[in-house]
Every structure is written in C-alpha cells, then in structure tokens.
C-alpha cells in the first residue's frame, strides 16, 4: 500500500535550534538582530515556496533485502542490515521540499545575498529533517490503524549513504517506490533531485531493535555519530 503525505504549515516550519545549528550557532547563543532578521526572512521564503510532500510504500522483508543489497557496494556489516532483520514492518519512503527552494538558494548566492542563501539552505535542511520525523509518526499511525502496531512499536527511518548502506542503494529504493509521482528523480551519481529530498526505509518494531553500539567497522569513519542522539531519545523498555 502506498500513501502520500502532505503537511500543515506548522509542520513544515523548521525548528529554530536546528536551523541555527546548521549555521554553526550553538543552542542558547545570543545572536544579533541581523541574524534574527536573516532567520525570519529565510522562514518567509521557505513558507512561500512549494509545499513539501512525502510518500511511503509498505515493503516485505524479502523485497527489502533486494532493495538493501542494491548494487552490491554496502559494507558487510551495518546497523540497517541487522535492524531490518528484526523489524516487524517495513516501508520505503521519500519526501521533498520541491525544486523552487533549491532554485531560491542558488539564485541568492548568485546575486551576492550570501548570508540569506546560507540561512535558507540551513532552514530547508532543518525542515526536511523535521518532516522525515513526521513521516515516521505517520507510518506508525498507519500501522496502528491497521492493528499492526503495539504500544511498544517504534518507527525510525534509515537512509542510503549512511552507516555503510551505500549511496547507490538509492537506485533500487526509488525503482521500488516510484517517487516520480511526488517529483523526485535520481541522477547517475545517485543524487536525488530536487536536492532537498530525503529517502530511505522506515523500520517498525520494539524500540530495542533500534539500539546498537557504534562498534561497527563503518562507525570508525563516522564524523557525526548522530545515531547516538536518536538512540538516547528512544523510549525505555
């Protein structure tokens, strides 16, 4: 089953701290009026742009094994491989902020409005991340409505290009999902167009399946270790 998701204006508004983090501004830092003005202008441009849209499609574990294998370039041992094997339900997803926002960022760089272009880029990225979290919630709601989830079910999304799941995995993923209906395509270098788009797999199961130690070989190369924050936020079991 495939579901298309639209978002309210409030849902699509990025989190301020996340936008500022993208600008290298720590949470709680006192900022100048210039920065506040840039932030507010970026939000205005973002809200005037195309409405973001997402979709997800259920996929069996057998089919996901094929999608995940992709072109055969994954690391031998990865969190996604282990977590998906323990999943209760799976779905592939994609979301996009659309082409106009990327064009707005490019145009502002070209016209010399560097600060606004950069702030707008951070705002768009923060918006995309927030919407991905909402897509996780919507899949959980979908499972609950079909009595396929229990009170302990947690849904988290994982994307190609991270944690040893090779970027080329995008190709089989998008072949299965067919996100052309929401305006997403893939370049030869496995880059999604429009640029502010995210895709991946939604994995549903007990919270514990998403807990893993960052001791996979691929973890040694990871600069951000952003998985730790997500794991800390998991409900206690």
């Amino acid at each position: 089953m495939t579901e298309t998701i639209t978002f309210s204006a409030e849902e699509a508004a990025p989190d301020r701290n996340a936008v500022f983090e993208g600008q290298g501004i720590p949470a709680g830092a006192v900022v100048t009026q210039d920065i506040e003005d840039l932030y507010n202008t970026a939000l205005d441009v973002l809200s005037d742009s195309d409405a973001p849209v997402a979709m997800f499609a259920e996929i069996s574990k057998v089919d996901f094994t094929v999608v995940y294998r992709g072109e055969g370039f994954n690391e031998p041992s990865t969190p996604v491989k282990d977590i998906s094997a323990r999943a209760e339900q799976l779905a592939l997803f994609a979301l996009t902020l659309g082409k106009p926002i990327s064009e707005a960022i490019t145009q502002r760089f070209k016209s010399g409005d560097f600060a606004l272009a950069s702030m707008l880029d951070s705002a768009a990225s923060a918006a995309a991340d927030k919407l991905a979290a909402i897509v996780e919630k919507r899949f959980l709601e979908f499972l609950v409505s079909r009595e396929l989830a229990t009170p302990s079910t947690t849904v988290l999304g994982y994307s190609p290009g991270y944690c040893g799941w090779h970027m080329s995995g995008q190709e089989k993923l998008l072949d299965f999902l067919q996100p052309g209906r929401i305006g997403i395509s893939l370049t030869e270098s496995f880059l999604m167009q429009p640029l502010k788009s995210i895709s991946g797999v939604l994995i549903a199961g007990p919270a514990d399946i998403h807990r893993f130690a960052n001791s996979y070989p691929v973890c040694a190369l990871c600069e951000t270790q952003s998985c730790r924050k997500r794991i800390r936020a998991l409900p206690e079991t």
């Binding site: 409005d113 560097f114 600060a115 880029d121 290009g161 970027m167 080329s168 167009q193």
Partner: protein
Amino acid sequence: MDILTQISDTLIGGDDENVARLTQQAIDQGIPARDILDRGLIGGMDTVGERFKVHEIFLPEVLLSARAMHAGMDQLKPLLIQEGVSSRGRVIIGSVQGDLHDIGKNLVGIMLKGAGFELIDLGNDVAPESFVETAIKENALVIGMSALLTTTMPMMGSVVNLVREQGLGDRVKTIVGGAPVSEEYARQIGADAYGFDAANAVDRVKGLIGVN
C-alpha cells in the same frame, strides 16, 4: 579615524552600502588601490576570519561581511586593473563530477575572494579534465574540490592523479573538502590539503601558496 580603518570597521559590521561608499571615497582621495585592498578590505575580512575562528561571531555575520567586501571590490576592481595590482593567487574551485551540492563550495569561494584570492568557480558536476585544463589555462596555483556524496568522492582522486600525470604537482596544489571527506581521505588520495570548513580551507590555501 583614517578612511582605510573606516572601511575595515564598516566591513566588519557587514554594512555593504557604506563599504561601497567609503571605498569610492578612498579612490577619490587618490589612495592607491593596493592600500585600499590590503588595509581596508582584506584587513577587515582578516579580522572577521579571526573572530569567526574563536567563535566571537557566527557564519551569517561572516557572510554579511563578505557581501560588504564584494561591494567594495566592485568599486575597486577597475582601479586594481589599471594599477596592475595582482591578487594573492588564482584558485579554481568546483564540485566534482556527479555532485550537484554547492553550498560548501560557494562558502569557500566567498571566503577565498574575501581573503584576496582570484577565484574561478567551475560550478557543479565538473569533470577532472576541466579542473586541470582550466588550471593550466588560467595559471592557477590551487585546485579546490568539493564532494558531498561518498559516490562522488573518488573523482577527487582522479583530479589529483591527473595533476600528477600532467607533471603539474609542483606548480598546482590540490585541496579537498565536503561532509564525507576527511584529513585521512585527503592523505589517501594524495591531495595536498584538506579543509574542514570554509575558514579552515582559506587558511590551508594560504599555507599552500605561502601567503601570510
């Protein structure tokens, strides 16, 4: 306060309109273009860079100052050409073949220009041959490459190898950067330097060329 200090302070404040006005005023006063550039504009951006490095100011403020720098340069450029004032060096930048991300590259470019380098931005999805051919044609000292995908990073190695094959290794230095790139990766592919952010990239380029 002398006018060059005024230009520098106004640039630090990110006021592009007044930097343009004061730069024109300095030109009208007959101050040599080199002095306006070095002590006014680059001097201001150097202070901005230092404050950014110690976290006194943030990226948006750096970029507002960069816009002010560009506004001053727009006024000064004809005089720089007339007086034969050369830049600190010519740098080629681009996102490697297959990569369309350009925010990081754009930030590096803005800050390199702010530091007095002449920039040739080849844009996105740049083939290795384009980097090297342009570097030869334009007498560039540095090739800067950006990649944001693990699938496009290998193209950086292709450029480095091509520079070597063409016998340009002594004349043209290479610097790489981007989210999946690291100092270790730069070493592996034989790049001359790695920049972990835009400000660091400028410092590394200065180091490669031997500029203070």
